[in-house]
């Protein structure tokens, strides 16, 4: 696979940025500074990073409750992300959405739904829209393994397939939907096998290997852009934290065995990529420190921005229901 050094380093940076961002989020949540429900993607960073430099301006993104990584990889600004997490008026969703719904329609990051499976059917629409308007825009639709059990998955993938819509469905298979292990939730061997029911290409890749993910994205996006229709990409990965911050499993191993967690911690996608990049001579300790430093500064400033930002004005919530306040 051809890939430039810039691209490699960009992916590495993206992964570290997602990791540090979420570590900070976890820390601020523990301190009671961030309200609401938080789902972190620590351990899964290779998947969104694999998308970097494959999508381009004009493309669309549809995401889930576990979206921080997708949004950072899409290029969203950490300041406005923190501001949203803090419930501030300067946040991406002006405090209306919070962690589960951060999005930025202006840059194509259309929506993050916390209804599992809801995104698949919506992605058919941005896909169809591009087709009808005869553009080459591609829609990336992320979901978890659990989402593939919802009826909307079936309806969305089937529609995208029969209409050859330019959509890439990406399943981040972290093996669990909260406590439900995917092995107990389906009998087919791989989630990507399900693509066959829709006559759609399906592929399973090591989701902790950013370059494998990248390759899969590249092929699928190319197919979509060229009018070849949708693809289902399954990325095998693992979340290091609990399902949500506060999930008892994180410390008490309610549904995941210690050995399993240990095994996956060893396969940390950032560590793996770091070693590979060092071997390739692209990365060294000095560059790492520089990257870490830059990210640390970016995060600190973003948090400061968020902290200093004003809270939204409650009386204004009726303004966002419709395009005018008539009928609210």
């Amino acid at each position: 696979m051809e890939i430039t050094v810039e691209d490699l380093l960009d992916k590495y940076k993206t992964m570290v940025k997602i990791r540090r961002f979420e570590e900070k989020v976890s820390e601020l949540f523990a301190k009671g500074k961030i309200p609401g429900f938080l789902h972190l993607s620590i351990g899964q960073e290779a998947v969104p990073a694999g998308m970097r430099n494959v999508v381009k301006k004009g493309d669309y993104l549809i995401s889930t409750h576990r979206a921080h990584g997708h949004m950072i990889a899409w290029g969203l600004d950490l300041s406005k992300m923190f501001a949203e997490l803090f419930g501030k008026e300067t946040g991406y969703n002006r405090g209306r959405g919070g962690s589960m719904h951060i999005c930025d329609p202006n840059s194509g990051a259309l929506f993050a739904s916390a209804i599992v499976g809801a995104g698949t059917v919506i992605a058919t629409g941005s896909g169809l829209s591009a087709k009808l308007r005869k553009t080459d825009q591609v829609t990336i639709c992320f979901m978890g393994d659990g989402a593939t059990e919802e009826g909307t998955f079936h309806e969305g993938l089937n529609l995208a397939a029969i209409w050859k819509l330019p959509v890439v469905f990406v399943v981040e298979n972290n093996m669990y939907a909260i406590s439900m292990c995917v092995k107990n939730a389906m009998l087919c061997e791989k989630i990507s096998d399900r693509a066959k029911a829709y006559g759609m290409p399906g592929i399973t890749v090591d989701g902790n290997d950013v370059l494998a993910v990248h390759k899969a994205f590249k092929d699928a996006v190319k197919r979509a852009r060229d009018g070849g229709g949708p693809t289902l990409i399954e990325c095998l990965t693992y979340r290091h934290h609990g399902h949500w911050e506060g999930d008892p499993d994180y410390t008490a191993e309610v549904y995941r065995k210690r050995e399993e967690v240990q095994e996956w911690l060893k396969r940390d996608p950032i560590k793996i990529f770091e070693i590979k990049l060092k071997e390739m001579g692209v990365l060294n300790q000095q560059i790492i420190e520089k990257i870490e430093k830059e990210i640390q500064v970016e995060i600190e400033e973003a948090v400061k921005y968020a902290e200093r930002s004003p809270l939204p004005d409650p009386e204004k919530i009726i303004e966002d229901v419709f395009s005018t306040t008539d009928g609210v």
Binding site: Y60, I62, G91, Y92, N93, R94, G95, R96, G97, H101, C103, D104, P105, N106, L110, F111, S113, I115, A118, T120, V121, I122, A123, T124, G125, S126, G127, L128, S129, A130, L132, R133, Q137, T139, G151, T152, H154, E155, G156, N158, L159, I162, I317, E319, D320, V321, F322, S323, D326, G327, V328
Partner: protein
């Protein structure tokens, strides 16, 4: 109205609105089951596929969530989809997509994205289509913030409201009562639009206010005509849109008459008539001369057998009796 007029059915009025809007705006497209080749089960979109092609008149598989989801994604990215759900009853199959996605996306994004889409569907009983093809669920969607609701009772209203719905920037639920498809009315040859949130006084009167919706409107007018013969002068108000609701026209009428009967075909418990009654009880109480009276269907699923279905659906007799009852208070 100063225009040349023609008499057409409600079905044809809806056809015309769709046809004209598709001609006017290339971003408008149709999506739904059996709307293309078949041209809709009631013939609403007959020949549309010939005129506009199958890219813009999209027959879908039996996947209601995908129909609505596809409309949402298209609406968010510059298109103006008009989705059809064959019967309102099937909106249960895409309820999440309508109520948790379409209706909330603008708000959840902090007002940063619009979802300009219309969902057309037919509602109501009268065809002996039984419990899963005859329902009136408007109260349900009225309760969920973020979706506007049009409830035309005449061809004129249907055409004008549908055009407004398609041109607006918000999700709209456009309800077509199946028993009204072949009722006729006059519409102008010229283009016209009807704004949302403006009730129409279908008959003026001073003794009692009858607020009715959809297929009950013609019945309410007939009831008023019968009452007129007995010297009772009823005003019949058609809200035309439930969201936004023109509270003022209703309240003004009640202030004038002091008495009100609200009639809809919905199951009475939790019907849209309850919201209207509550508004009156909150905001026009001082002018009321008698208890508010509500008429609805009994709180049962829609039964199949003709005598059962007839009993289920509110009719002229029930309206007349209710009016007489509150006039005697």
């Amino acid at each position: 109205m100063g225009y040349d007029m023609k008499e057409i059915t409600m079905r044809d009025a809806i056809r015309e609105a769709l046809w004209e809007e598709m001609e006017r705006d290339p971003n408008v497209f149709l999506i739904g089951e059996d709307i293309g080749t078949l041209g809709n089960i009631f013939g609403i979109t007959t020949n549309f596929i010939k005129k506009f092609g199958k890219e813009r008149v999209r027959d879908t598989p039996l996947s209601e969530s995908a129909i609505i989801g596809c409309a949402i994604g298209a609406a968010m990215t510059g298109m103006r989809p008009v989705a059809e759900i064959m019967y309102m009853d099937f909106m249960g199959c895409c309820f999440d997509t309508i109520c948790n996605q379409a209706a909330k996306i603008r708000f959840m994004s902090g007002g940063k994205v619009s979802v300009p889409m219309v969902i057309r569907t037919n509602c109501g009983a009268g065809f002996q289509a039984a419990a899963q093809h005859s329902q009136s669920w408007e109260a349900i969607f009225m309760h969920v913030p973020g979706i506007k609701i049009a409830i035309p009772s005449t061809p004129y209203d249907a055409k004008g409201l549908l055009k407004t719905a398609i041109r607006g920037d918000d999700p709209v639920l456009f309800l077509e009562h199946k028993m009204l498809y072949f009722t006729k009315g006059f519409i102008p040859d010229e283009e016209y639009l009807i704004p949302f949130g403006k009730a129409d006084v279908k008959r003026e009167g001073k003794d009692v206010t009858i607020v009715a919706t959809l297929a009950v409107i013609p019945k309410a007018i007939r009831a008023a005509d019968i009452l007129a013969k007995e010297g009772i002068d009823a005003e019949v108000i058609d809200p035309r849109t439930l969201v936004p609701l023109d509270k003022q026209t209703i309240i003004n009428s009640v202030k004038k008459t002091g008495r009100v009967v609200i009639v809809t075909e919905e199951n009475k418990r939790g019907a849209s008539s309850a919201e209207i009654a509550s508004i009156i009880a909150e905001e026009a109480w001082n002018w009321l001369k008698a208890p508010i009276k509500r008429i609805g269907a009994p709180n049962t699923p829609v039964p199949f057998s003709p005598p059962l279905e007839n009993y289920y659906i509110p009719n002229e007799e029930k309206i007349i009796n209710a009016v007489k009852e509150i006039l005697s208070t």
